[in-house]
């Protein structure tokens, strides 16, 4: 016997899906709009070059946007690389060793996940500006050698907020990890280093990859923290788009967002796939 479902539940579910996905659908549809304004859909664009993909091609010609895209990728790749290493090492250490203050330091590690992003953004900004001012004045650096906000500070802040997520995901993978296989490797003449590369890492790789992809997507679309820590010449896509919004939105922007959504979606799907296989 199947239980009769309440119609209200179905309506609520549909509403949730509608509000979640309608904007995305509209956004993607408008990427093919033939009008330059984003107000009404006036049919599919069909202009040279690229036909219906006119706006996608127009993107390539936008130098400012291309440089923002390049910055975003540089930041995402670099911060993912480092946060994955640091986060994995933290997860391994928390799994393996017990030390005084372990619970406390673990709690401390996860705080960036729950703390409002804007608080973290301001915190990091204050830290960097004080630090930089201190260094710049004590060493009386000439203007062109002074430390300023830029790509470096954005990358560091992205590493900071990604590490806890990586650690969390890798820890989940390590849960129930049978350490006797590591002992078996050592018993078979593999030192700590080779044990890690030949046994530990391959076994936790799905978790590490899932963590890396999560860090990557978090970095790709971060706005708040980036906004506080960026500087001249380090504009990222979210910041750039935000700047555009205040003037005018064109289908170019929709085309950009469409590519972006596709990218994040693919990354998330892979991450989920890996995590499921891990479980």
């Amino acid at each position: 016997m199947t239980k009769k479902r309440s119609p209200w539940l179905i309506i609520a579910a549909l509403a949730v899906y509608f509000f979640l996905y309608a904007p995305i659908v509209v956004l993607v549809v408008f990427a093919f709009n033939s009008s330059r304004t984003n107000v009404v859909f006036e049919g599919v664009v069909n202009r040279e070059p690229c036909g219906p993909f006119y706006w996608f091609c127009a993107l390539a010609g936008n130098r400012e946007l291309m440089s923002a895209a390049q910055n975003t990728l540089t930041i995402a790749l670099t911060s993912t690389f480092f946060s994955t290493i640091i986060g994995t090492m933290a997860a391994l250490a928390l799994q393996r060793y017990s030390f005084p203050g372990k619970t406390f330091s673990e709690a401390l590690l996860y705080i960036p996940i729950v703390i409002p992003e804007i608080v973290m953004g301001i915190g990091i900004l204050v830290l960097f500006s004080t630090l930089f001012r201190f260094i710049n004045t004590t060493f009386s650096l000439p203007p062109d050698a002074r430390l300023t906000m830029g790509l470096g500070t954005v990358i560091i802040s992205h590493i900071v907020f990604s590490v806890p997520f990586v650690t969390l995901v890798v820890r989940a993978r390590l849960h129930g990890f049978d350490k006797s296989v590591e002992e078996a490797a050592q018993d078979l003449y593999a030192d700590e280093w080779r044990t890690f590369w030949r046994v530990t890492l391959p076994l936790i790789a799905p978790g590490v990859l899932a963590g890396a992809l999560l860090a990557f997507t978090l970095s790709l679309d971060d706005f708040v923290i980036t906004f506080f820590t960026t500087g001249p010449g380090a504009t990222t896509l979210p910041i750039y788009v935000y700047g555009l919004l205040r003037r005018i939105t064109t289908p170019e922007l929709n085309a950009l967002s469409t590519i972006w959504i596709a990218l994040v979606l693919v990354a998330l799907l892979i991450a989920q796939r890996l995590e499921r296989r891990a479980g």
């Binding site: 296989v181 050592q186 018993d187 078979l188």
Partner: protein, 365 residues
């Protein structure tokens, strides 16, 4: 000075416990294990068998004392530099490698060239009767097969000593018996010293050249199976290995090995001891059920009147539970060797039971 395959000298291991207390896992253990021997560490759960084995393998370092392998003190030597290999209770095969890669791992780490590795993997898998399984994955194998792979993976390195921690613990009874024979065969074939941890006394008795019985982190007795069984040196060993009747009493007097003991209810028993005891000392007389009998002959030493409480027929033997005049309950095991296997007594009968002095041991706690 003879050189042993493995020697433990006054080894102790203390762990920090979960709530700050100290766990004495191994207390002042000294052991000498001879070359080519099948040596078992036997004892109940938590007695320190695994910890002792892990100190030989190098996964734990002794808090005190020293482990020697073929005369070389191990000190802080890490596991990957010790000439021993381990077979883990849960096999600990590498799940992401094939069986061939698993077995070849030790040789690969030692830098043995690929061609030779392949040849030796083939031989090792043949030795454990798994020829041609190189390409399989561990999860595609049964428990017994994984066990054999674990053995091959260890033995392929020709270790000086093979350490086995309850390797058959996860197998069902039939497979267990098979693997016991298999292990014995392998050990004879390769001639490597085996140190075998088990809490199964029957397994230890059937397989080992010598056994160390452990309890509470200490080694109580070391010896070949028959010695441990026939001449236990303390109450714990007598009780742990096989079945035994323990009669509590006080020493009346000792004359060399012979001891007279006063049991409850005014009974006296004549038994033997290797220790020197004092009069009035609290002791136990240990006597195996099969060393007791009904229907004493004339002039038998330890004869007691009792009443049969229970008769259990188990085919080859019949077990009689008899309550003695002093209130002690004993089990007597009689072989059913007469053609009709008639019971010697029935439940409720008054009987006389006896045992000889020689197999009866006077033991202390």
């Amino acid at each position: 000075m003879p050189e042993y395959a493995v020697e433990l000298r006054d080894v102790s291991k203390r762990f920090p416990g979960p709530s700050g207390e100290i766990v004495n896992a191994v207390k002042n253990v000294s052991l000498q294990i001879r070359d080519g021997e099948f040596f078992s560490l036997l004892g109940p759960s938590g007695c320190g068998k695994t910890t002792s084995l892990r100190m030989i393998a190098g996964f734990e370092l002794p808090t005190e004392g020293e482990v020697y392998i073929h005369g070389r003190p191990m000190g802080q030597t890490p596991p990957y530099r010790r000439p021993v290999n381990t077979v883990f209770q849960n096999y600990a095969l590498f799940p992401h490698m094939t069986i061939g890669e698993n077995v070849a791992f030790g040789l690969e780490m030692k830098g043995v060239p690929k061609a030779e590795r392949e040849k030796r993997v083939k031989e090792a898998l043949e030795m454990v009767r798994l020829p041609g399984f190189e390409k399989r994955r561990p999860r595609q194998m049964s428990g017994g097969q994984q066990q054999r792979v674990a053995l091959a993976r260890a033995l392929i390195n020709h270790p000086e000593v093979l350490l086995l921690d309850e390797p058959l613990g996860a197998l069902d009874l039939k497979l267990r018996k098979e693997m016991q024979l298999e292990l014995k065969r392998l050990q004879r074939e390769v001639g490597i010293t085996f140190i075998y941890v088990t809490h199964d006394q029957e397994e230890a008795l059937t397989m080992s050249d010598r056994i160390a019985v452990m309890s509470g982190g200490r080694v109580l007795q070391v010896g070949p199976a028959h010695e441990i069984y026939e001449k236990p040196n303390c109450k714990f060993v007598a009780d742990f290995i096989g079945e035994t009747n323990l009669l509590e009493g006080k020493v009346i007097h000792q004359h060399g090995r012979q001891v007279e003991v006063l049991l409850a209810g005014g009974l006296t028993a004549h038994a033997e001891s290797d220790q020197s005891l004092v009069s009035g000392q609290q002791v136990f007389v240990a006597i195996r059920p099969e060393k007791m009998a009904l229907r004493p002959y004339d002039g038998a030493h330890n004869v007691y009147v009792g009443r049969v409480e229970e008769v259990v027929y188990i085919g080859t033997d019949t077990h009689y539970t008899v309550r003695l005049a002093g209130g002690q309950r004993v089990r007597v095991r009689e072989q059913n060797d007469d053609p009709f296997s008639r019971p010697l007594a029935n439940s409720g009968d008054e009987v006389r039971v006896y045992f000889d002095q020689t197999p009866a041991r006077v033991l202390t706690e």
